[in-house]
Symmetry: none
């Protein structure tokens, strides 16, 4: 058997199972331990794998380093619950729009098994989406440094070419009269567009956002299904005065 054939076999088996034991390779390739060992050394030099005691493992790609995001973990537990609840609405093979933001980020682990196609403007989502090899289309446009999101008219133009089964949005304020609001008009524009392009819209909303309002209005509270962990009965009741408003609570 040719050296290159062995090398290919080793790489392919690694891609399949992530790691291999040296003995496993010796058995399957009918070559001596020395030879396999030498193969592994060479492949490691080529940066194609990492040798570990007893065998080898795939070089895990660190890809994009998570930059500034995911640092404010003060309410991650709540966010995780909300995200999990939101993910329950996703059906197999859905095409979804995933808004930038820390709450929507928590949905990603649940996406793999649903075999969804994701479109997103959130750069902070990218490393995780790549790691899980989830089919992803990135919105093109200008990068906004403060939130690591893609925005701008070019982003809107790009988005406009697509339609989604469902979209999942974060929001800075939710108020029974002012509706959904967010500080940045450009981001608001994109969210608005996403809502229009989606069959169903879900807004993920931790308790701190309820009864708040910020600068730019995105939509009426009746335009999306609100998923929240808040147990502020009063605020929720006030939202539900309008019979068109749908609120999903966790507990």
């Amino acid at each position: 058997m040719l050296t290159t054939e062995r090398h290919e076999f080793i790489i392919s088996i690694l891609k399949k199972q992530g790691t291999v034991k040296l003995q496993e390779l010796v058995d399957q390739l009918h070559a001596s331990e020395s030879t396999i060992r030498r193969d592994l050394v060479q492949l490691e030099e080529m940066k194609l794998l990492k040798r570990v005691h007893g065998g080898a493992s795939l070089l895990q790609r660190k890809g994009l380093e998570p930059t500034t995001m995911e640092k404010q973990n003060k309410a991650t537990a709540e966010k995780q619950l909300i995200a999990k609840r939101a993910s329950a609405f996703i059906e197999k093979n859905d095409c979804i729009y995933l808004d930038a933001g820390t709450t929507t980020a928590e949905m990603i682990p649940y996406l793999k098994e649903k075999n969804v196609t994701v479109m997103t403007n959130g750069l902070m989502h990218i490393p995780k989406l790549i790691e899980l090899e989830i089919k992803t289309v990135l919105v093109g446009g200008t990068i906004k440094f403060s939130t690591n999101a893609v925005i701008g008219s070019n982003a809107g133009q790009f988005l406009n070419e697509y339609r989604f089964d469902k979209c999942f949005l974060g929001m800075n304020g939710i108020h029974h009269e002012m509706g959904f609001t967010t500080p940045d008009p450009e981001e608001a524009l994109l969210k608005k567009l996403a809502i229009n392009l989606s069959n169903e819209t879900y807004v993920l909303c931790d308790s701190s956002k309820l009864n708040e309002a910020t600068f730019t209005k995105v939509a009426d509270v009746s335009d999306a299904i609100i998923i929240t962990d808040s147990n502020d009965r009063e605020a929720i009741a006030q939202l539900q005065k309008n019979p068109k408003v749908k609120v999903v609570t966790i507990s």
Copy 2:
């Protein structure tokens, strides 16, 4: 048996099984070892196969295509030099297209002072660009996991709305006859488009790429200014036989 017949047979068997042992060919073609060996040498010169110890293999080894992480750290010193030289061509306030890839990545540190606007399809560039707060427009489209680049028809469509002063591309092969080549047709398409949309095109090329050819042709060698650290006089001379070809060397 005619030489060309043998050559065809060798190529066809390679296409079928990816690799062949020399002995295998000797048996099947009823020719001497010397003859087959000569055949392989010739076919290799024609860039139709790659000779390996004991036989030959197809040029583009599918399993062994190194991903970005694997290629990294390989020859960063060279790449830095090439990137620095390339950056010298940038003028203040230019709008540039920065191709995905490890060599182009090394250009980013030089961009800040030039106050450029960058468009890129390379996700691996994003953290650095954000860190330095360089005005960046991200190409929208489908994410290719192996290289962390954005590709696809939607990417092309997006790109087509822009024009650039200069574009800086990486390339997998540069060959005086075959021109610029890259393994992935989708990436080739995007590179081609970037060239068309730019006033000036620069190809960053470390020594390992010179005189190589891969699957898809992007452009003729005369379509871009080649920046290389190679001191392979012969290869460079061969490129420059065509008076339209411009080569910039480091030293």
